[in-house]
């Protein structure tokens, strides 16, 4: 019994220690800088089998790529993170970060664990179909995470902060060798910065720059032209989420994106993020454009996971035939649209924003082709076929090109 | 009408409470049921009113009680429970009016109101008529319960220890009333009593029970003897007739006492 206990204790210790020993590999002097001499010793030890080949490889990597010093970055939580060696095994708990890693050209074969929502998105993340699932940020499977022996775990920074704080605390207690990194990767204000930091973190600086340029130009195309529209001429928009009569207000990302596209969110000043509205208020507000979000709850169809156009049509018809709606400017002028959350809620929300810009100001944006932009994003940055854009439905009515 | 009970028995779970009880009453008679705690007086009364379903046969006015509906039984038999503290949101008048339920479909007729008023007058509780039940004393509540039973126009009145909550004066008033009801309406009254003195004074006949069986039946003067008291209650007592009424004065318990 005693022997068993000791073996168990030793195994637990090994598991904790194994992921990454703090300190640079081969840093015999402990001065947090890898000197040439230390590297040479490391390589010789590896050749003599008195240290692992992996450690030597890491030491060589650190010496040549990081100038012998540990990498220090500040993630979106504002904390400084110190990376002692390159990542070989990472767990990514939010699909937005995973998507951005693809965008900057990172080799995602190091991903050993993903969350359940990534697993569900088989059309968008086909390569992770068989990757082990670690639950979700709101119900994390700690045992699974630890058993995967990751070097790093990625969670949100601002979103679901308390759940992510808890994950960070628990991992710090049980697996201090695991680096926790926090990125949101879809908030318009922080995303550009995060692209750069991620590029730096994962040694994909070139890829990061390329993607950042693509992202920024697509956003700027819209915002710069929209800036020319005076405030009182902005289109009055009623935005509805997948819950009927629930709109988005100033605290939410959707409100931000509407304004980015130059729209004026009629109910943007209400309290809370997603207030529920009195139906007659919508009627009385005479919106010039109506946008309804689909892709979840009652309206789970469309987007990357596929769906019949018929369902879009039914939803659209039901929307415009609500009592009294035929007198709304938005319905009279055929400016009622459905948009899927896949292109408005995540890291490539700029596609959705471009659609909205075209809907709001068709004259100013007649040359903008969000379908093309979407296809370019998929092929250039996500490794997915362009045919998805034609085969699947992301907006309704589809854009006439 | 005559009440005839034959071979009545009742068990609660596997405990036998009443065993082979048989007796009959004459119309207009006041029959007291006495006995030590747990002898089955209350259960017997509830069985006769079919609140419990007993084995054996209970006939009233020639009809087998088992054949009658609850409403028909309620028109014949009224039951006065020991005073409880439920149903307090009603006024006195409304509570008494409840006794007319066996005769009311929906609306309250003038006949119902007259009956209730008459009974209120008989019991001299007019001054309480529209007070809430919470605003009257325990003794007055007991009177209200009796009034409720009386408006049922019963031919058989069952009372469960009607004087237990009453003070001296109310005890006498209630017992006089009960005897009057029996006489004036030719109703039979069956009364479970604790107090042997009241029983002796107001009952025409007495039935002594012990452990679910009838051990003696007869007039109070026949039954209330030293020997019987000792047998049934295991108490040494003195019987006195000084006051003009039969009095049982307990002296000491018989047999071993553990102090």
């Amino acid at each position: 019994m005693k022997l068993l206990f000791m073996v168990l204790a030793a195994a637990v210790c090994l598991m904790i220690v194994l992921p990454a020993s703090a300190g640079l590999p081969g840093d015999a002097s402990g001065n947090d800088h890898l000197e040439k001499q230390e590297l040479v010793s490391m390589i010789l030890s590896a050749l003599k089998d008195s240290t692992t080949l992996q450690d030597a490889r890491d030491a060589a990597y650190v010496y040549s790529n990081w100038n012998g010093s540990p990498k220090k970055i500040i993630d979106s939580s504002g904390k400084e993170r110190v990376i002692w060696r390159p990542f070989h095994r990472i767990v990514v708990m939010n699909s937005e970060t995973l998507e951005t890693m693809r965008s900057i050209g990172y080799d995602t074969s190091t991903v050993v664990g993903v969350d359940k929502y990534t697993l569900k998105a088989t059309a968008f993340f086909p390569e992770f179909k068989n990757t082990p699932g670690i639950g979700s940020i709101w119900a994390p499977d700690y045992e699974k995470i630890v058993s995967l022996q990751p070097d790093a775990v990625f969670v949100y920074a601002e979103i679901s902060r308390s759940s992510c704080d808890e994950i960070e605390e628990n991992l710090a207690k049980t697996s201090p060798g695991v680096t926790v990194l926090r990125f949101d990767c879809y908030l318009p204000e922080s995303y550009p910065g995060e692209i750069g930091i991620l590029g730096d973190l994962l040694d994909c600086q070139e890829g990061g720059r390329e993607f950042l340029e693509f992202y920024t130009s697509n956003i700027d195309t819209v915002t710069s032209r929209v800036a020319a529209v005076p405030e009182n001429e902005r289109i009055k928009v009623y935005f509805e989420t997948w819950n009927d009569y629930k709109t988005c207000a100033a605290g939410s990302g959707y409100d931000q994106k509407i304004r980015m596209a130059g729209g004026s969110n009629i109910f943007g000043n209400e309290a809370g993020e997603y207030p529920e509205l009195d139906p007659e208020a919508v009627l009385a507000s005479s919106p010039e454009a109506v946008i309804k979000l689909v892709g979840s709850m009652k309206y789970t169809f469309g987007g990357y996971n596929g769906g019949e156009e018929e369902l879009f049509r039914q939803t659209h018809d039901a929307l415009v035939s609500r009592k009294g709606w035929k007198s709304l400017p938005a319905v009279r002028d055929n400016r009622t649209y459905l948009i899927h959350t896949d292109i408005l809620g995540g890291p490539h929300f700029f596609v959705g924003v471009q659609y909205m810009a075209r809907w709001f100001y068709p004259d100013r944006f007649s040359d903008l082709d969000p379908v093309c932009v979407h296809a370019e994003y998929l092929t250039r940055f996500q490794g997915l076929p362009a045919s998805i854009v034609e085969d699947e439905i992301f907006v309704y009515p589809r854009l006439r090109r | 009408m005559t009440l005839s009970v034959r071979g009545l028995s009742f068990s609660y779970g596997d405990r036998e409470i009443l065993h082979d009880v048989s007796f009959s009453t004459a119309p207009g008679e006041v029959l007291g049921i006495a006995g030590p705690n747990g002898c089955g007086k209350t259960t017997l009364i509830k069985c006769i009113d079919r609140i419990f379903e007993p084995g054996g046969r209970v006939e009233f006015g020639g009809k087998d009680m088992a054949d009658l509906s609850t409403t028909e039984i309620a028109q014949l038999i009224a039951y006065v429970p020991q005073a409880l503290t439920i149903g307090m949101a009603m006024s006195v008048f409304e509570t008494i009016l409840l006794g007319r339920r066996p005769y009311i479909r929906w609306s309250v007729s003038d006949a119902d109101l007259e009956r209730v008023s008459a009974v209120i007058a008989e019991l001299a509780i007019q001054h309480l008529a529209f007070r809430k039940m919470t605003q009257i004393s325990g003794g007055e509540r007991q009177k209200v319960m009796i009034a409720r039973a009386m408006v049922q126009d019963p031919s058989l009145l069952l009372l469960d220890e009607p004087t237990s909550a009453l003070d001296l004066r109310h005890q006498l008033e209630v017992m006089e009333l009960v005897r009057r009801v029996a006489r004036d309406k030719e109703a039979t009254v069956l009364m479970a009593v604790h107090d042997l003195n009241l029983a002796g004074r107001f009952c025409d006949r007495l039935m002594i029970m012990k452990e679910g069986r009838i051990v003696a039946m007869g007039t109070p003067s026949e039954l209330l003897t030293r020997e019987l008291i000792r047998d049934v209650y295991e108490v040494d007592a003195v019987i006195s007739g000084e006051s003009g009424y039969l009095q049982v004065i307990p002296v000491r318990p018989v047999g071993e006492i553990t102090v």
């Binding site: 009385a284 789970t300 | 439920i86 006794g99 339920r101």
Partner: protein, 358 residues
């Protein structure tokens, strides 16, 4: 003892009873008038900023188009958005109020209500199953309604079956109800746990209760069911009164206690089910309306039952009107509003000098 009181005294008592009863009829009439006034006010409330004149013009124009004119907008808002919601609030409040009064009478317990007996918890569970496992698409809404209704009745059946084992007494029914409440709450929590974040939110919203999705059709259905159940309940008012005196006393007055108890519980649950399957859990009405009524006119169920219904209707209409005006144009779920109204009331009861009105 001489018979006290001359015949003159008796007619005095009779007259006083008539006055006594008249007060209660007056209260009922008063409640009815109050509801009419509340309807009149509620119709003019809403975020669409219609003037009182426009609102009433829209109402009258529907019947007498040649006499008054109305804009299509006003007409649509009043007839397609406000009126059926207002009437639904009254019908639902009436049903919940009466159901609560029946439950309290049948179980002789002032805390009995559809909520405490696990009936609402069962409805929540039914709705949660559909939300989490999703039939998907537009059939979802109907499925939620049906599931909530079915599970409510299942809970009632559960209470009945469980209490049959121990005897159909108030105590056994209350205990059975509490068991079911915990059971269904636990299962609902489990569903919330395995669901997605969006589904969790929707389940929670369903339990808040809301009159957002009413329609004329739903109003007709609820009114029909409640309307059919009311005569059945009212005819048993005397039995309820008698049962208030205790099971044994009631039996001696001719009431078939267990049968009456079972039937009344079933009817009260049916009324509750048909309402909350459309609205979600609206608490406190079934608890508070009977208490308020009892404080005003006492416990005679002939008056208490309909009056509880009217008070319930008035309460729910008031709560809903507040819910859609306080933060206009945003809406607070009405169940939250009724809780806000209910809590001060109970505080008042708690602090009041107890004279055992119950």
């Amino acid at each position: 003892m001489d018979q006290k009181g001359a015949p003159g005294d008796l007619s005095h008592l009779r007259e006083e009873y008539h006055r006594f009863a008249a007060k209660r009829y007056l209260f009922l009439a008063g409640c009815g008038i109050l509801i009419l006034i509340l309807i009149g006010i509620a119709t003019t409330l809403g975020s669409a900023d219609l003037t009182i004149g426009e609102v009433y013009a829209a109402i009258i124009a529907r019947f007498f188009p040649s006499v008054v004119e109305s804009t299509p907008l006003a007409s649509t808002i009043v007839w397609e958005y406000r009126l059926h919601r207002i009437f639904f609030a009254i019908a639902a409040g009436f049903g919940l109020g009466i159901a609560g009064a029946v439950m309290q009478g049948v179980l002789r317990n002032p805390l009995a209500s559809p909520f405490t007996l696990g009936i609402s918890a069962a409805a929540s569970f039914g709705a949660s199953i559909v939300i989490v496992f999703g039939i998907g698409g537009f059939a979802n809404d109907i499925a939620i309604i049906i599931a909530a209704f079915v599970f409510t009745l299942l809970a009632t059946f559960g209470i009945y079956s469980l209490s049959r084992v121990r005897g159909i007494s108030p105590e056994s029914m209350i205990l059975a109800g509490i068991i079911l409440m915990y059971l269904f709450s636990a299962m609902t929590s489990f569903l919330q746990y395995i669901g997605t974040v969006d589904q969790l939110q929707e389940v929670v919203f369903w339990t808040f209760g809301s009159l957002q999705r009413t329609s004329w059709g739903k109003l007709a259905l609820v009114s029909l069911v409640v309307g059919l159940c009311i005569p059945f309940i009212m005819l048993r008012s005397w039995d309820l009164n008698a049962m208030g005196q205790g099971d044994q006393a009631a039996k001696s007055m001719g009431v078939d206690v267990s049968r009456t108890r079972t039937r009344l519980m079933l009817i009260a649950s049916l009324v509750t089910a048909i309402i909350i399957c459309f609205t979600g859990v609206i608490g406190f009405i079934g608890l508070v309306a009977p208490h308020i009524t009892r404080l005003a006119i006492g416990g005679d169920n002939r008056f208490l039952l309909p009056a509880s219904g009217l008070v319930g209707g008035a309460l729910l209409l008031t709560a809903d009107s507040l819910a859609r005006t306080v933060l206009a144009p945003a809406i607070i779920p009405v169940g939250i509003m009724t809780s806000f109204i209910g809590i001060p009331f109970f505080l008042y009861l708690f602090l009041r000098k107890r004279e055992g009105y119950w």
